[in-house]
Subunit: 131 residues, 4 copies
DNA sequence: GTGGTCTAGACCACC
DNA sequence: GTGGTCTAGACCACG
């Protein structure tokens, strides 16, 4: 379970965990029936407090994408992937919409916005290919 | 001075004030030499705490886009518009960078991200042409 | 021995086993003198941990509805059915009492509670007649 | 703010708090626009840890029945009462359904179940009229 | 071993 | 003062 947690970007750690796992469920890297890592295991791996992991997991339970097998762990539900795909799409779209609206209300033209976006997208992609 | 403040969306109120005033300076709705409203006046208008307005103004002073006209108030500086335009661009860029990085770590491909972005940009532009 | 175990509903598995066997004894589907399945057998059938079955059986022994037939297994006792019928009634009553108290403390009136109950009872009965 | 918390009945404290406040919002004892007690205040009043209160409040936020006014506290939302009424009804119904299903699967007849229910309901109501 | 709850206390940003 | 996040560690029931 490789998650990329950034402790310094203002986004709560528990939210980063929940989202990244939700996205793994969305594309069925974690298919229904699979167990997600134990709270303690993931806490050790990420070198963070188990409570923080537990909080992320609680959120996934609230979304009904995982359920507890008591004494055993947390299992991806049958409806998990569908719910997570919906969450993922909504989440990305909402964030893009916020930024675009702000850019427009700052009187940047459609062309200027597209240019900024392309710069950043290609930079991010390049950086990811060769980190 | 009409500002649109939302206290419940997580964005600090002082930041909303500072940014919205900076953007008014960027496009010279508030040109160099103009006075911005007094702390008390704006606090009364927006029905918020004067400390919050003061904090926003302090930030604008730090950016050197307004300066105190001794005993009179705060005046937009000559270099204000240039600085604000630069701030505005930096702000937009940062926001884009966050969203793009998040989208990439959600395993969306470069193409998928571009597609979502274009949908939202054209939708926003269309909406603006005919609001 | 067909038991219906749900591991994800928060009710402990050992309790589901103990109760369902007790109810089979209550209506004498398992009459006095019958042997109940061995721990290993039932654990294999239900695909669960033998410790969990053992714990359920221990509880049934504590209630004196089964007793060890030395070296052979567990046998339903003569007083088993009577005890189980009593247990069953007490169990149902307790559950009802909890729900009714909670409903009252939610400020639902006696009439509203009765209405909800009747809806659910008739729905459940209808569903059972034609599953 | 008078809440009745029972630490020993197996129901988590944070859940008792969340539910009781939700029910106060449902019948508009706490109308939209009102602030709910501060985390620290309620924790002091109930003599429990602030984190426990915070957890209850987080749940109410997730339900969108309260929202944070940053630096000020938590406010009941406009849709709060409607959502809480819905939650309350769903909550009671679910609990009744569990009990009724268990009663049926214990081979109690519809008539027997109704009889038990009526005994308990009238007992509870009598007790409440003259505690 | 597993998750769930609770306590205690630290630190942060915001008003 | 407010809520939000995180850490540390205890205790419980369950398998």
């Amino acid at each position: 379970m490789y998650l990329h947690i950034v402790a310094t970007n203002g986004v709560p750690v528990y939210e980063q965990i929940a989202r990244q796992i939700a996205f793994l469920i969305a594309d069925e890297t974690l298919p229904p029936g699979d167990m997600i890592p134990s709270v303690r295991q993931l806490a050790r791996d990420l070198a963070i407090n188990p409570n923080t992991v537990a909080r992320a997991y609680r959120h996934l339970q609230d979304l009904q994408v995982v359920e507890t097998l008591s004494g055993t762990g947390l299992q991806v539900t049958a409806q998990g992937p569908a719910i997570c795909r919906q969450e993922r799409a909504a989440w990305i779209r909402t964030r893009f919409r916020h930024v675009v609206v702000e850019a427009r209300s700052s009187r940047l033209s459609e062309g200027e916005i597209r240019q900024i976006f392309e710069q950043i997208l290609t930079a991010a992609s390049a950086e990811e290919r060769r980190p």
